[in-house]
């Protein structure tokens, strides 16, 4: 059976793409953010996952409002990046893992998650930039196959934190029941607190972010007590992307099953409080 080696949760911001393209990793503004990643890259070199399940939210590259699935799972042989409108250089395409995609689809529907399946799927910065941050030297050949899982944060109603937690649990169970000799890492991307729109633009909530990050270590279901409105109030209109972290962390299992290896938190990257955590499965 497949093994979950651990999980990584990180922020994603388009400006990171510009910083990577411009080689600004040592720049004073960017250094506290990029310095969070070498320990994660080292851990990945050690645990050598074969596949990454990437839980992220699309920002209007693959999905438009004509069809807006709440949960969608990629089932494509490869996933292309494309122009999102800002001229950030696109990254090489990502190989898929059709066996895991279809196993995940079967398992999730069996568990009553009525997901959308995508045999063609463009992946935006929320998928591509974390991959580049985790494997900066990958070039044209990513060292892992990938399965994208997308959660709608574009149009309310959004799935609740509780529902995303359960989705994560179901993903974890599905991966562990996959009849393959494969090592799988779960990646969740988004957040932490930030708000791009409205008179409250620029809102950041350090206190809540740190409490949330701590909860992923001590009590991963803590945030599921909150409604979507509560979470938007506490983290901002786009801070709600912490749903990806909740799902990714839930997929790894209980407090006893994981060990937190590394974390980083820095304000600001663009308008965003940037967080990063790595969990290793010890089960």
């Amino acid at each position: 059976m497949a093994k979950i080696v651990g999980g990584i949760v990180t922020s994603h911001v388009p400006a990171i793409g510009r910083a990577i393209a411009g080689g600004l990793q040592e720049d004073a503004y960017w250094k506290p953010f990029f310095d969070g990643f070498p320990p994660v890259q080292k851990w990945l070199d050690e645990v050598k996952p074969d596949v990454a399940v990437v839980i992220y939210n699309d920002h209007g590259l693959n999905f438009f409002l004509d069809k807006m699935p709440t949960f969608s799972v990629g089932a494509a042989p490869a996933y292309q990046n494309a122009d999102e409108g800002w001229g950030i250089p696109t990254l090489p395409s990502f190989p898929g893992d059709l066996d895991l995609s279809w196993h995940l689809i079967e398992a999730l529907v069996e568990k009553e998650f009525d997901i959308t399946t995508c045999q063609e799927m463009l992946v935006d910065h929320a998928f591509t930039l974390p991959m580049k941050l985790l494997w900066p030297k990958a070039g044209d050949n990513w060292p892992v196959r990938t399965v994208p899982v997308c959660i709608n944060t574009v149009q309310h109603p959004l799935p609740s934190a509780k529902r995303c937690f359960k989705l994560g649990q179901a993903i974890g169970e599905a991966v562990r029941s996959w009849d393959a000799d494969a090592r799988v890492v779960i990646i969740g991307t988004g957040g932490l607190s930030h708000q791009l729109d409205g008179e409250r633009a620029g809102f950041i909530n350090k206190e809540f972010d740190l409490q949330f990050m701590d909860s992923l270590v001590t009590d991963p279901a803590w945030s599921t007590q909150y409604s979507i409105e509560d979470l938007v109030e506490k983290t901002g209109t786009q801070g709600i992307e912490l749903l990806m972290w909740i799902a990714a962390r839930a997929s790894l299992g209980s407090v006893e099953q994981v060990k937190m290896l590394h974390s980083n938190y820095h304000i600001p990257i663009s308008n965003t409080a940037a967080g990063l955590m790595v969990f290793e499965n010890i089960d």
């Binding site: 409108g85 309310h156 791009l196 729109d197 809102f203």
Partner: protein, 117 residues
Amino acid sequence: MTAAKPRREIPGTPMFDGAAARKGYALNKMCFTFNSADNRAEFVKDEAAYCRKYGLNAEQEAAIARRNVLDLIAAGGNAYYLAKFAGILGLDMQDIGAQQTGMTKEAFKAKLLEAGK
């Protein structure tokens, strides 16, 4: 026509819900096309014609002409699609934040830094 139950109001915090999605469909659809460089060029060449092509209403077209983000949101615009319009204008998220909060860009950036302390 019965609208969905209104969401809890969070001051200064637009929730892009069904009501906004209905109102802003044409505007958001136009902004979605800005993923393509050819479409961005076509918009820049004749903004009014491009807005007409996507069926924007007068409020939406005026908000585009004024480059006013709060007006664009009031007209049903979604932050993620509007960001593609901001890209055409060469504005970054601190420009957008400053405009919506009535601050200078420097003051807005200082506010972000302050949040980290």
